[in-house]
């Protein structure tokens, strides 16, 4: 699986390439918007790691150009500016995710995989936390490699939580994901599914914990 890194700092680009190679990816490195634009026209990459501050222009301009051409390549944006405003701006321009420098290599790889492990993206489609696995292709959860039978709603909640590993899924996000934007949702519906899922997972020996952050949302993590 080949990734494109567009980063003008040669040293950082090489280190990232090295890190991603040791995680099993092949990488190409470019340092300008111009190069990236022409290469992306002819070459297929599984994902793009894009630095925003490039010598010949703004990475966001490249991103908009890509989306304008309906190129669905997952894009992970790197930036030196950590403002919320920048984040929103970046995501609106079509970035799939966003990391503020300095970031952990581990985090970069985890975010990349969250993007790549989507139906249609060919990376092994399995999400994993401790002894809990979720195959996004057939939507099958398994604990210690033993397939588990969960209800449709519980499965949806679990997939959402596992995709957002390490991050909070807000209650609103969960409702939108499970029920869509239409229709009335009972205020405690998500709460009920999360409660059931938590019970199922703990009864079946999963070494994970589904945290409820009161007033905020839910987060799945390895058991402490």
């Amino acid at each position: 699986m080949r990734l494109l890194i567009v980063e003008d700092n040669v040293e950082l680009a090489e280190l990232l390439a090295k890190g991603l190679q040791s995680a099993g990816y092949e990488t190409d490195v470019l340092s300008t918007v111009e190069e990236a634009t022409s290469v992306l026209l002819t070459t297929f990459y599984a994902a793009l790691i894009l630095d925003l501050g490039l010598p010949d222009g703004d990475g966001l301009a490249l991103l908009r150009e890509l989306r304008h051409r309906n190129n669905p390549i997952p894009v992970l944006v790197l930036t030196a500016r950590g403002g919320l405003h920048d984040r929103v701006h970046g995501l609106r321009s079509g970035a799939d995710d966003y990391l503020v420098k300095p970031f952990a290599l581990e985090e970069l790889i985890a975010r990349l995989e969250a993007q790549l492990r989507r139906p249609g993206h060919m990376l092994g489609s399995t999400l994993r936390i401790a002894n809990l696995e979720f195959d996004t292709r057939n939507r099958q959860a398994s604990i210690d490699d033993k397939p588990q039978l969960l209800s449709a709603r519980e499965t949806e909640v679990l997939e959402l939580l596992m995709r957002s590993k390490g991050r909070v899924v807000s209650k609103k996000q969960a409702e939108d994901h499970i029920f869509g934007h239409s229709g009335e949702v009972a205020s405690n519906a998500i709460e009920v599914y999360v409660h059931r899922l938590r019970k199922q997972l703990s009864e079946r020996g999963a070494k994970v914990q589904v945290h409820t952050i009161r007033g905020v949302g839910y987060l799945i993590a390895e058991e402490n």
Binding site: N9, E11, L12, L15, L16, K18, G19, S22, G53, L78, A80, R81, G82, G83, L84, H85, V100, K101, P102, F103, A104, L105, E106, G166, R167, V168, S170, H211, I213, R214, G215, V216, G217, L219, A221, N224
Partner: protein, 452 residues
């Protein structure tokens, strides 16, 4: 010395003074002219009368003079009428003829006087004004004097003079006042582009440095000032841009080498060493991030029109810090209103203030306890921990830059609360701290609610 703050008031006051002076002088001048004109008419009439009396003066063969006035002239000079009088005086000052009762001269005789003279003389209780005309009759010079009793002056002319002030003199004042009002209107109209430019200028602030004053409509006299202001604004805008660019550049220049360092460490084989160094880099990254925040805050200006939903900003912060809290075996909860709470301010900066309060709270709250966020409808957000609380004497110190209770404690920069304080100042918000019972601290930020 009277000083005027406004050109308009200066013009009005000076114009009023000018109107008063002009109307006084104009009245005086006009009445003088009128008097002069009526005097001329009077003098000419008197001269004519003297001439016409002289025409009836004839020299007899014996050399003495005879005056034979026709009936109409006799009537004019009759005592009964009493208005006009005449006298004829010879070279030696003797009165030859006189219409006066005592056959006196109207005016003292003066042999050296010119051919025509206009004189005025008090006779008894009357004042006679008239002309003295020299004429040579039969070889001898005589002066024919004709006069009019001023008390009985021509009624028509008197009326004109008397009515002048009432009917004509006062007209100058309203005319001048109308002129003043017209001037004020003209001037106000001429100043309108300046007022419009002032309104545009009032929009200019650190958040709107791109506005420039229009010069098209500005009167030519003031245009150099307006152009100079625009040039000054260009320079100011550039100054602001340089300052903002510096913060952005500094962020980039510092964070990129940190990323290189961090990635290089992540690739280290030695796990123990790697983890220790990763913690060091994280600590350094945290300090740099906070210093950059402070640098940005020093150059930051809140747009007065900006608004933020305090509730959703707080929710985002809670989502952001929850994984950090959980990693330390601590919990986070968002309480209070579930409705949007609109306040004045920049959402990004509000978020940073709340994030710094919550990171502080997570650091201090006891393991196994919960950091609570409470958003109140009145624009207040509180962050509550279950840590040791803040001693009374430290409540001002904690907001100072680089102040730390325990300098040996890792992970604290002493910058977080000073960032909170600075953001509060920028937003005219109030930050307070109090202790909870039995233990813990409650930090509150009260922002300006948005009045809809």
């Amino acid at each position: 010395m009277l000083r005027f703050k406004s050109i308009l008031s200066r013009i009005v006051v000076l114009h009023v003074v000018a109107v008063v002076i002009t109307s006084v002088f104009m009245s005086l001048a006009l009445s003088w002219l009128l008097n002069y004109a009526t005097n001329n008419i009077h003098n000419e009439a008197m001269q004519e009368q003297a001439v016409s009396v002289g025409e009836h003066l004839t020299a007899q063969s014996d050399g003495h003079l005879e005056l034979d006035l026709p009936q109409d002239l006799l009537g004019l000079y009759s005592q009964a009428y009493g208005r006009y009088s005449y006298a004829v005086i010879d070279d030696h000052g003797r009165v030859l003829f006189s219409s006066l009762r005592d056959s006196a001269a109207l005016f003292p005789a003066d042999a050296r006087s010119s051919d025509v003279e206009f004189l005025q003389q008090r006779l008894g209780d009357a004042t006679v004004s008239g002309a003295s005309v020299r004429k040579t009759v039969g070889g001898q010079s005589v002066w024919i004097q004709a006069g009019e009793d001023l008390a009985n002056r021509d009624v028509l002319i008197d009326d004109i003079v008397a009515d002048f002030y009432r009917d004509v003199g006062w007209i100058t004042l309203p005319i001048l006042l109308v002129l003043l009002i017209a001037d004020i209107a003209i001037f106000r109209r001429a100043l309108r582009p300046l007022r419009e430019a002032s309104e545009i200028a009032s929009d200019i602030g650190p958040t709107r440095t791109d506005v420039r004053l229009p010069t098209d409509e500005i009167p030519r006299e003031v245009r150099p000032l307006v152009s100079a202001i625009n040039l000054a604004l260009d320079r100011l805008e550039q100054g602001f841009r340089i300052q903002r660019d510096f913060t952005a550049d500094a962020a980039h220049e510092l964070r990129t080498p940190l990323s290189i360092l961090r990635t290089r460490l992540d690739l280290l084989e030695d796990k123990k060493m790697r983890q220790a160094l990763q913690r060091d880099v994280e600590g350094m990254a945290h300090i740099i991030s906070q210093l950059l925040d402070i640098a940005e805050l020093d150059a930051f200006v809140v747009d007065p029109l900006e608004k933020a939903d305090l509730r959703s900003v707080t929710a985002e912060v809670a989502e952001f810090v929850a994984p950090l809290a959980l990693a330390q075996g601590k919990d986070v909860a968002l309480l209070g209103t579930a409705e949007p709470v609109w306040v004045k301010g920049n959402p990004e900066m509000l978020g940073r203030a709340i994030r710094n309060l919550s990171e502080n709270a997570i650091n201090h709250t006891a393991p196994g306890t919960t950091v609570e966020f409470i958003v109140d409808q009145n624009g207040t957000v509180s962050v509550l921990d279950q840590g040791p609380g803040v001693a009374e004497e430290e409540r001002n110190l904690i907001f100072q830059r680089f102040w730390r209770r325990d300098r040996r404690k890792a992970g604290s920069t002493g910058l977080g609360l000073s960032i909170v304080q600075r953001i509060a100042e920028l937003h005219s918000a109030v930050v307070t701290v109090e202790n909870r019972n039995p233990s813990g601290a409650r930090f509150s930020l009260k922002f300006q609610p948005l009045t809809l």
